[in-house]
Amino acid sequence: MNDRVLAVRDVTKVFDEGRQRVHVLRGITLNVDAGELVALEGPSGSGKTTLLSIMGCILTPTSGELVVAGRPVRSRDEATLRDVRRQSIGFVFQQYNLFPALTALENVEYSLNVRGTGGRAAHAEAKRVLARVGLGDRLDFLPRDLSGGQKQRVAIARALAGSPPVLLADEPTANLDTATGGQILDLFHELAKREGRGVLVVTHDPKVRRVADRVVGIRDGRLVDAGDEKAAA
């Protein structure tokens, strides 16, 4: 499919822990299309963060295929994976992971610098995406001077900067109150629908069902309620 921005097929992940081999993922197949918001739910230890790491090219699978923005990612070479992350994936973390010494604007601008955009172009793009998430009047605020919701908006702006087609969010509402969490989920929904990004949100938050196009469960390294995923692949 032309608008498929992220896909894993029959992905497994096995960790060697001493003499033990731990099978964290067991043949996962999952697709995310452009303009689609997919929620991934599962209890602790189910493998959802490992799956997110593989889809974000931070970890490599033991077996299976990964395709990001139409580009098959077969290499295990760190430079190649880094290149894919830089070009195609925006991350939003549970703890925001903002740089405390940088203002909101600098946080976004720095991520653009890392992605290879510098100077005025980075500055203008950072301002644009911060305005996009409703923080146009908080550009010079340090993270410590922002509320939890505002911090998460900065983190989302950072993920949006450079217009990657894929957004991966790890528990983005876990540290937010109900109202703010709801606003953040609405923002993800809007980004998927208006900007055509593929959004995968790993969450425990039941409110995500309100905005998600699909909800996929994961238990013991296997997708549940995922029969349609196999068919779609």
């Binding site: 970890l59 880094r82 991350f91 973390f93 549970q94 992971n97 010494a101 720095y110 610098n113």
Partner: protein, 374 residues
């Protein structure tokens, strides 16, 4: 471009102050200690450098200009007969005892010549004239002597080896390595004071005729004065310096001081940078997760080390240069040249970058997946 390195460095002000203070301390230690050492060494050759002699004839194995040994003064006649020699004169350098008004006896280093003005000695006369030394028992006394002898003035008298001398003027900058004050007197007066100086000298100063080949003249002097050493001005200065550096352990002591200064700097910078790197591990993980390489993180640490080096050096060097006049007031010369300062700056940069290497090792293995851990 946003500099995460500088922003992080200035964000944690206390750590930044500690890092910069560590560098500044190391720089000050090295600059002031080595500057003092160079200043002392400068004193060890001050008369050699100011006397306009091209060659020095000394007795065999004289270790340095202050510790002179006697030889027959007729050697000067042989020196004068060598082709290429424009002028040759005897110079006596000898330790003597001076009696102070309070009854105490002190050492003094006597420089005695027949014609001081021909040899640019003394080179900085504050009061009186070297020509006055021809008038009876008279001396020019260096102003630095006031530290050891107490205040004195022109017209006063002091007893040297039982003979009363009138102070007819004062000089400056004539301070020996041994800190013994220098006085200048007529050659014959000096010979009169010490039995062993009668008919003897301690050096022959030689000036070359215009166009004369120094090496040839030196070789001929050596041939005609087989019981003496004949050294060029530079050779003699180097030999005098080397004596203090090698024979007294001063060089080793200075080396240890410089090493300790650098060690202190490395330990402080390495420790603060390493702690900072550990505390920012999650940030570095984020940098990696969003597409940054190890190199990008090394650059952050390297830039922080460089900033600490530049600011620390500026503070340390500034303090060292400021302290010079204070040291000079107590007659301690801190000799700081732009070349040496540049060398210390380069060393500071290397020291800080070297210290950052410890942090490089720590961050090299950061797993970007740690961004998903809470």
């Amino acid at each position: 471009m946003v500099s995460l390195a500088r922003k992080n460095l200035f964000h944690d002000r206390l750590r930044f102050v500690i890092t910069v203070a560590g560098v500044a301390f190391a720089v000050t230690l090295v600059l002031v200690q080595v500057g003092l050492f160079m200043g002392l060494l400068d004193k060890s050759t001050v008369t050699i450098r100011h006397a306009n002699a091209d060659l020095w004839v000394t007795s065999h194995n004289t270790p340095n200009v202050d510790f002179a040994r006697t030889f027959p003064e007729t050697a000067v006649l042989r020196a004068r007969s060598v082709p290429g020699v424009a002028r040759a004169d005897n110079l006596i350098v000898a330790f003597m005892t001076i009696q102070l008004p309070n009854g105490a006896a002190e050492g003094t280093l006597v420089y005695a010549l027949e014609d001081f003005t021909s040899w640019n000695l003394p080179w900085s006369v504050q009061q009186g004239s070297p020509l006055d030394l021809k008038r009876g028992y008279s001396v020019l006394m260096d102003r630095s002597a006031a530290l050891r002898y107490g205040p004195f003035a022109t017209g006063e008298q002091r007893e040297i080896l039982g003979r009363r001398f009138r102070i007819v003027g004062t000089t400056s900058e004539a301070a020996s390595f041994t800190t013994t004050p220098i006085v200048f007197m007529d050659y014959r007066n000096a010979q009169e004071l010490q039995e062993q100086l009668r008919g003897n000298t301690t050096y022959v100063l030689v000036r070359l005729a215009p166009g004369a080949d120094a090496a040839l003249v030196q070789a001929e002097l050596r041939r005609r004065l087989p019981y003496n050493d004949v050294l060029t001005r530079n050779e003699w200065a180097r030999q005098s310096r080397d004596y203090w550096v090698k024979s007294t352990g001063l060089g080793m002591s200075m080396g240890v001081t410089v090493f300790l200064g650098i060690l202190v700097g490395i330990v402080i910078v390495a420790q603060t940078l390493y702690t900072s790197a550990v505390e920012h591990i999650k940030e570095f993980g984020t940098v990696k997760a969003i597409g940054g390489s190890n190199l990008a993180i090394y650059r952050i640490l390297g830039e922080q080390a460089l900033v600490a080096a530049v600011i620390g050096f500026a503070l340390g060097a500034g303090f060292s240069y400021l302290v010079r006049p204070l040291m000079a007031a107590i007659h301690l010369n801190v000799l700081l040249s732009p070349g040496f300062s540049a060398l210390v700056f380069a060393g500071t940069v290397l020291m800080c970058l070297g210290a950052a290497l410890f942090s490089f090792r720590r961050v090299a293995g950061i797993d970007p997946a740690l961004v998903f851990r809470t």
